[in-house]
């Protein structure tokens, strides 16, 4: 049996300053496995991957590949040992072309110095074909959408011809269409007997493509199971150490009351066109669509940060002046933005400062802050959404993703709003936190707030929303009620295949 083990990690420990990210973790992976790693936010999955990929160096422990102890001190060492990684955080050079980004650090050379541009393009084209992405490799990276970025990242990892590829939440910014291509690709890789380590919070995926799963909890190894021998509920229990009653809260069909938001003919050139819909108090309106369908742009436009937008937005009977955040905020419109690290939080500032940012007026008089009151409000809301932090004064960057997201939610909930727009509220968030956030959204709806929910996770949209609008290429294509919607139907409208079948 032991001879079967292709990758063996023994007693890996890794600390960052005072934080123990991995504690004595040992794992064995066989050649050709598609090996899932699961665990809550901050469990240490990415850290483990990064140690294999040479980005972090373990404090202690050994890595054995194919029976040999190897030292991985840099990403280059990892390449040389046939290991590459698809990173969770997208990272590219925006002003360089796709081809160059794909060849970064491994340029084909002519005469040993000059970069062979032709070969670079050729290689890039082949890679793009492999991942089924039809783009000109000369295009600059900054012109790509998030999903395309993610696909390039995947291409980048397979470009090295590695024997071991680590995927760290590759689907968190992909929509169903790309996920399908990715899975096709993974199947191909499996056929080539390439060993895959697959990190994801999405249960269904794990069950679809992986054959084994290991669970980490708080940096410690918990267990490895064969996928065929485990259930979702068991896995969740291993991950969080307790049972979760229900995955999604049961939605209470509140009676429709007054219209709280009315959007008429909202358009923004190149982003979306002719959007009209209504939202009632206490209702959760879901927006489904492929990545790039224009959902986030609508949210941003309603929030008042789009300077090209035209049309009419009425909130609670008042006409909103467009492209004017102040006016939106005054009218009780708030937005939990899509990208928590870019748009949601200033990572270097404290939890409290981040929380207070849109709420400064609540505890200031003539501009002067009442810090005691601020502390009270912060504590109040942090306990309401159960943010876990030892002090509200520690920098948000020290918090796990789930807790960071809760702070973004908290800061907007505190802002006394009538309309809450949440964009990808649970992206990259573990199941425990996810359930908590779903509960919060649901409770808010019950208090009579109107909620717009944008999510690329179809189960999330379907289970939380009372109505669902499907978008494609910047246009509304279909509206479903809660009863009508199912994953298959939505997907067909999203991809434009509604007439087939």
């Amino acid at each position: 049996m032991a001879t079967n083990n292709y990758i063996e990690l023994k007693n890996i420990t890794k600390t960052f300053g005072g934080v123990v990210a991995l504690k004595n973790v040992s794992l064995s992976i066989c050649k050709g496995d598609c090996f899932a790693l699961m665990g809550e936010n901050g469990a240490g999955k990415s850290t483990l991957g990064k140690i294999l990929a040479g980005i972090h160096k373990a404090d202690s422990g050994e890595t054995i590949i194919n029976g040999k102890i190897i030292q991985i001190n840099s990403p280059r060492d990892a390449f040389n040992n046939g290991i590459s990684m698809v990173h969770q955080e997208l990272s590219f050079c925006p002003d360089l072309s796709i081809a160059e980004n794909l060849m970064l650090g491994k340029y084909p050379l002519r005469w040993g110095i000059k970069i062979d541009n032709e070969k670079m393009l050729l290689n890039a084209e082949q890679l793009l074909k492999q991942i089924e992405l039809d783009i000109n490799p000369n295009e600059l990276m900054k012109n790509l959408s998030t999903a395309q970025n993610q696909m390039i990242q995947i291409a980048n990892a397979i470009a090295t011809g590695s024997d071991i590829i680590i995927f760290d939440e590759p689907t968190s910014s992909l929509s169903e269409k790309e996920v399908v291509s990715l899975f096709k690709l993974i199947k191909k890789l499996k056929e080539q007997n390439i060993t895959l380590i697959y990190v994801s919070h999405r249960m269904d995926e794990i069950f679809e493509i992986c054959n084994k799963v290991a669970v980490l909890r708080d940096g410690e190894y918990v267990d490895t199971c064969k996928i065929s021998e485990v259930t979702k509920a068991q896995l969740i229990e291993k991950m969080i150490g307790r049972k979760i009653e229900e995955y999604f809260p049961s939605y209470l069909d509140t009676v429709k009351t007054d219209v709280i938001l009315k959007v008429e003919n909202l358009s923004s050139k190149g982003k979306f066109e002719d959007i009209s819909f209504e939202l009632h108090a206490g209702e959760i309106l879901g927006f489904a669509g492929l990545v790039g369908a224009g959902r986030s742009e609508i949210a941003v436009a309603i929030f008042g940060l789009d300077n090209n937008v035209t049309g009419n937005v009425t909130i609670d009977g008042n006409k909103l002046s467009l492209n004017n955040v102040d006016n939106s905020l005054e009218n009780g419109i708030v937005l939990v933005p899509e990208d928590r690290k870019l748009q949601g939080l200033a990572l270097g500032l404290s939890c409290k400062e981040n929380f207070s940012l849109p709420n400064l007026n609540q505890f200031s008089k003539l501009g002067v802050l009442n810090k005691g009151l601020e502390q009270e409000i912060v504590n109040n809301y942090f306990s309401k959404v159960s943010v876990k932090t030892d002090s509200v004064d520690s920098a948000v960057e020290n918090l796990s993703g789930g807790n960071q997201q809760k702070i973004v939610l908290a800061k907007w909930i505190a802002h006394n709003s009538k309309l809450l727009i949440v964009d990808e509220p649970t992206r990259g968030i573990d199941i425990g936190s996810k359930t908590a956030i779903h509960n919060i959204i649901d409770e808010l709806a019950q208090t009579g707030m109107g909620i717009v929910l944008i999510s690329s996770e179809l189960p999330e949209v379907i289970n939380l929303s009372s109505r669902i609008i499907v978008m494609r290429n910047g246009k509304m294509v279909k509206e479903f009620t809660r009863g009508e919607a199912n994953q298959d139907l939505l997907l067909r409208y999203m991809t434009g295949n509604e007439l087939n079948n």
């Binding site: 960052f16 955040v325 949601g344 404290s350 940012l357 876990k388 020290n398 807790n403």
Partner: protein
Amino acid sequence: MRFDFSFIKKSRQETGLVVVVILIMTFLTFASDTIFVSGEYVNNFFRIDNLIPNVFTPMSWMAIMAIGATFVIISGGIDISIGSVFGISALGTVAVLQNLPETASAWYVIPLAFVVALGIGMFFGFINGSLVVGLKIHPFIVTLGTMSILRGIALVTITEKSLPGFGKTLPTSFTQNFISHEMNYGPFAWAKLQPIPMILMLLFAIAAAFYLNSTKWGREIYAVGGNEEAARFSGINVNWVKIRVFVLNGLAAGLAGMISAGYYGSANTATGEGYELTVIAAAVVGGASLLGGKGTAIGAVLGALIIKLIENGIDILKEIDFGIITVYVSKEYSKIIIGLAIIAAVAVDRLSSSFKSRKKVV
């Protein structure tokens, strides 16, 4: 649970700076000679008639400007035109006040001085900020341009190159009776101290610290520097915050220019040349991060103090006897020592903060 500890955490860095100040002062006290002045043997460094006139007073305008620079730096910007703004405010103040009779009333003169100096500073700060925001150009470039433009304006408009012009002088209610007022009474009458610049600096520092720490406008500056996009998505008018920090920086440079003008009773077209770099150095030594989001007013004052103490040390020390070896310090070494000090100060800060373990809460 409810007590606000943020104060202590924020001031941890300032505590470090205070320790550095104390170390430098102790060193200078031991390293400097005992000299014989006004009939007494005293330590050449540690005596009130060295510290106040040679350290605290001339650091006043530098510290005020460093506070201004800190505003901009916290917001994630940089302003290298402050030397020129300082110069043109000082010139403007003198240009206006020199036309008043020498005996003009303080009630008229002093408010006028403030209005002119702060007005000029804020005006050019506003120009800087508007260009940064309006043209979306990196503030380094914008202020590189305005630095040159403002100096050019001073050269073109002030044909005498140095003010007050021939046969003119500033009202004494502004100079001798205000900014350069000499304390020839009280216990230190013999030392003829001129405390006003120092007092103005302290008042400004307190106001700035309050503004940054305890008002919503201050918080907004940290937010914009911490993450501009997140600030925008929190409904903050980022452009306006950016303009505001430049205006405040201009105000600081204007105030500093006015104090300098009053203290020296004059200004010229070269006044403030090269100050931008010293001022930024003071702000950075005081803990401001050029990446934005970090910095304090008190830190800026301490940064300026450290630089001034080093300069004073170079002036005072001729030779330092280390027991085994004796080092001769010449004024020529000042650039080397100050350069080393800037790097060392920031390096120490960097190292000490990387020792403070990063805590993570799950």
